[in-house]
């Protein structure tokens, strides 16, 4: 990193062209969360029971499994963007900041994969005996 001109000092610190996209996708996924999490809450409240059979039987329905997968993607995408902003505000050391982004990506993609996999397994294989 240069110590001379202004452009030399900021080069390599990231493009200044992603902010608007980040901000917009935070809003798109917020609307997704709004609709899908309210749907989940309402469903949990009106389900006959939250025992194993009721829940797996319910999730196995394609009209439940698909929105549930979309909800997982929307939540983890939204939190990936949101936690990035929080970490950028509080983690100042460059190395730690890099490491926190690495962990955040692992968390967001790992969590979303686990959630989608669990739903798919229930939907395709039904309840385990």
């Amino acid at each position: 990193m240069g110590t001379g001109t202004g452009i030399g000092r900021v080069r390599g610190l990231g493009s200044a062209k992603h902010g608007a996209q980040h901000w917009l996708v935070q809003r798109y996924t917020a609307v997704g969360n709004l609709l899908l999490v309210l749907w989940l809450l309402f469903s949990l409240l009106t389900l006959p029971g939250l025992d194993y059979e009721s829940v797996t039987g319910w999730i196995a329905n394609p009209l439940v499994a698909v929105p549930m997968m979309l909800m997982i993607v929307s939540i983890f995408w939204h939190l990936r963007l949101g936690m990035q902003v929080m970490l950028e505000d509080y983690v100042h050391d460059k190395g730690l900041s890099f490491f926190s982004m690495l962990l955040l990506n692992f968390y967001a993609f790992g969590g979303a994969a686990a959630g989608v996999f669990a739903i798919a397994k229930i939907a395709f294989l039904g309840a385990a005996e």
Binding site: A30, Y52, I59, I72, A118
Partner: protein, 131 residues
């Protein structure tokens, strides 16, 4: 530097006063990150337990229905409703509306009242149904 020191130095990092707008902004961050960690992990735990089998699911239910489990779920549901209300407030502010001082203050307070009401009614319904 030819700077007059008779001019006020406001806004300044050490000079501020608590207000509803500040509280709602801080709570948006706290609730968002609380949901992003505890909420998301709880959700994935629930799905993973259901995908693993009856024993794993029974263990989840035992944790979820313990006193601490209820405390966590009530807290998360309040966090969700609060984040939802302050998120909707964000949408309004994003459109450039709602910055008049009185309006801004009333709607900040309204997010707290609404989220507490939603949480209260939901759990009244849940516990009412269980009786």
């Amino acid at each position: 530097m030819a700077q007059s020191n008779s001019r006020p130095l406001s806004p300044h990092l050490t000079i501020w006063k608590w207000g509803p707008a500040m509280a709602v902004s801080i709570m948006h961050r706290v609730t968002g990150n609380g949901l992003a960690t505890a909420g998301a992990l709880g959700l994935v735990w629930w799905l993973m337990a259901a995908a693993t089998g009856p024993d794993a699911y029974a263990y989840f239910v035992r944790c979820a229905t313990s006193p601490i489990g209820y405390l966590v779920m009530i807290g998360l549901s309040w966090f969700f409703f609060q984040h939802l209300c302050s998120g909707l407030r964000h949408f309004v502010l994003d459109m450039g509306a709602g910055y008049e001082l009185r309006n801004n203050k009333s709607w900040s307070i309204a997010t707290f009242i609404l989220s507490l009401l939603l949480t209260g009614f939901m759990w009244l319904y849940i516990f009412g149904k269980a009786l």
